[in-house]
């Protein structure tokens, strides 16, 4: 282990020790990851099996989160939904990480017209209220999960492009790119070998920070009836289905998926803050 690595680990340990909240967030994250990976295997019931005899039951020991209007077990649905929600968010974040990251990298590295074009695209996206733009995209491209992923990626594009561009510019100005060019590397090789590894940490932090937003966005789209369709278990849809029952007092149908969703977003936001502290000690707040 190199000295730099040791100090990063030491710093990470220090941050976790100073800030137990990040530790809690990491544990929560592990829980969500387990739900997403194991999903159906750990759900106590079939998430789609309806049983009108058991409809609208308040939480009991048999059904810890109660049952919905079709008698489906809410706990099982909440667990199974993790894969859908986190999957959509992760896919969109990976997509925008690749697209936005590369665009920003190119803009920062080449400057000139590349920079101008990327900047124009980012500005045009930013000129819309983002959720509204996502609605418009999904409505236009068609009401499917891949399009939800795409829309969520597009509205995050400016953020990633900007961060990647700014970081690339700093590395450029630091001069070692020029040094490498003098020693005979070509542009493509330079980008991949010199710049990319250097902007990786900050981009990963960015991913974790936007995961929460991506989850919120996807769930919001499902809530208004875009993307995932019933009877698929998904947190936003489940809240939408429970919405009608809130006024008559059946709180559990919306509460559990909603709270699970909220906690997931909270967990990613905390984790992002924590990771940022580890990656970039200067920017601690």
């Amino acid at each position: 282990m190199s000295a730099a690595q040791t100090s990063t680990f030491a710093h990470a340990r220090y941050v976790l020790g100073e800030n137990p909240v990040t530790l809690i967030a990491a544990l929560l994250f592990a829980g969500y990851a387990a739900m997403a990976v194991l999903g159906p295997a750990i759900a106590p019931y079939d998430p789609l099996a309806s049983d009108t005899m058991r409809a609208l039951q308040a939480p009991t020991w048999a059904h810890v989160f109660g049952t919905d209007q079709l008698g489906r077990d809410i706990l099982s649905r909440v667990i199974v939904a993790a894969r859908v929600d986190l999957g959509i968010a992760l896919a969109s974040v990976v997509l925008v990480f690749a697209a936005g990251g590369l665009a920003g990298l190119a803009a920062g590295f080449f400057g000139g017209w590349v920079d101008a074009v990327v900047g124009r695209i980012a500005d045009t996206i930013m000129a819309f209220p983002l959720f509204v733009l996502a609605m418009g995209i999904v409505a236009a491209l068609g009401n499917t999960i891949p399009n939800i992923v795409l829309a969520t990626a597009i509205i995050n594009f400016p953020l990633y492009a900007r961060v990647a561009r700014a970081e690339t510019m700093t590395r450029r100005e630091a001069g070692f790119v020029d040094a490498a060019r003098l020693s005979g590397h070509r542009d493509g090789a330079l980008l991949v070998l010199q710049v990319l590894p250097n902007i990786m940490p900050i981009m990963v932090v960015q991913m974790s920070l936007t995961m929460g937003y991506a989850i919120l966005n996807a769930a919001g789209l499902s809530f208004i009836g875009l993307g995932v369709r019933p009877p698929t278990a998904e947190w936003g849809i489940m809240v939408a289905e429970g919405a009608g029952f809130i006024v008559s007092g059946e709180w559990w149908i919306a509460l559990f998926p909603g709270a699970t969703l909220m906690l997931a977003v909270f967990c990613f936001n905390l984790l992002g803050d924590g990771l940022r502290d580890i990656a970039d000690p200067r920017r601690r707040t």
Binding site: R120, D123, T124, M126, A127, F128, P129, L130, F131, V132, L133, A134, M135, G136, I137, A139, A140, L141, G142, G212, L216, A219, G220, F223, I224, G225, L226, G236, V239, A240, G242, A243, I246, V247, S248, G249, W251, A254, L255, G258, A259, L261, M262, V265, F266, N269, L270, D273, T285
Partner: protein
């Protein structure tokens, strides 16, 4: 004045970009636009008819030109479900959305700015910690969920607020329209009974929006207030014996508001999106719920009109933010 005009002109490329994107969203689709516009139950003949009537058989630039011309006449197309021109519906429903968003924003600013200021002035105190929790938790809230929670607590459990069904309960009648804002129009008419009814309806949805917008405003207020309080000119103000309120409010806060005003642009972006969700939860008859109904019916023209309206509103809001910034900051005024 000249500067304001210049800024207006500067917004034109952005507006053009917005219009272009909304246009492309309808025309460059994987599916067939005419089928889309005709709705799911149309016959092949009617689709063909729509294609020619929409000019979809023409080259794209020409289509775009016609789109621009239509826009210039305020023509946003017809809604297939209601049979009404989209423009009429949007204009009728816009005040409801605007009133809700503005109430939410004012509520958020009214709470978040004092909270951020107190947190900065009393750094490390209870209120400071409260502010930090709010700032992190607030951005994690799915508005549609918090809205439902508020309905459950304040309508179902406590019975304090009326049923979450629109701008007025069934017994009240809408005030004579001046601004379209019920809270203003009722006062205008001196109808306090209806004012109370309208206020009772709006408080929960506006509160939901405020809860959401609170976090970024409080966070940035606290941070910029801390920075300003540590700056040299505040030390001068203290050294010249100016009173505490003068130092904190006249000297520190006005400077600290500059970044807050800038961040409002981002807050508006979130708020206009959240507005759509909140309108659905509270059956609020604004342009958001109009768009949602149209979306579900695959009625595309209203959605397109909605996206365009929101984007134009957002551009204008950003313009307004810029002007406020100028009003506060002489450097922005004289600089450009």
């Amino acid at each position: 004045m000249r500067a304001i005009l210049l800024r207006l002109v500067g917004a034109i490329p952005t507006l053009f970009g917005v219009v272009l994107v909304t246009f492309l969203l309808t025309r460059v689709l994987p599916g067939d636009t005419a089928t889309y516009f005709a709705g799911p139950t149309a016959s092949p003949e009617s689709i063909a008819q729509i294609r020619t009537s929409l000019g979809l058989d023409r080259p794209l630039p020409e289509q775009f030109w016609r789109y621009l011309v239509d826009l210039g006449h305020g023509d946003l197309g017809m809604s297939l479900t209601t049979g009404q021109p989209v423009k009429t519906e949007l204009v009728n429903r816009l005040p409801a959305s605007a009133e809700l968003t503005l109430c939410g924003l004012l509520l958020a600013i009214g709470i978040a700015v004092p909270l951020g200021v107190l947190a900065a002035v009393r750094q490390g105190s209870l209120i400071d910690h409260a502010c930090r929790v709010v700032a992190t938790a607030g951005v994690s809230l799915p508005v549609f969920f918090t809205g439902l929670l508020l309905v459950y607590v304040f309508y179902f459990l406590l019975g304090w607020s009326p049923a979450p069904l629109g701008r007025l309960d069934a017994f009240a009648s809408a005030p004579k329209q001046h601004t379209g804002f019920y809270l203003v129009d009722t006062l205008w008419a001196g109808d306090f009974e209806t004012f109370r009814a309208a206020a009772a309806q709006i408080i929960l949805p506006a509160g939901t929006l405020a809860l959401f917008a609170l976090a970024p405003i409080a966070r940035i207020t606290r941070a910029s207030m801390l920075a300003v309080l540590g700056s040299e000119f505040i030390r001068t103000a203290r050294a010249s014996g100016l009173s505490g309120p003068t130092v904190v409010l006249t000297y520190a806060l006005r400077n600290a508001l500059l970044p807050v005003v800038t961040v409002l642009g981002m807050v508006f972006s979130f708020l206009l999106g959240a507005n759509v969700l909140v309108e659905k939860v509270f059956a609020w008859p604004g342009i958001g719920s109009y768009a949602i109904e149209a979306l579900i019916a695959s009625d595309y023209a209203p959605v397109q009109g909605f996206v365009l309206t929101m984007a134009v509103l957002y551009v204008l809001l950003n313009l307004a933010i810029d002007l406020v910034n100028r009003a506060i900051d002489p450097r922005a005024r004289r600089g450009a």
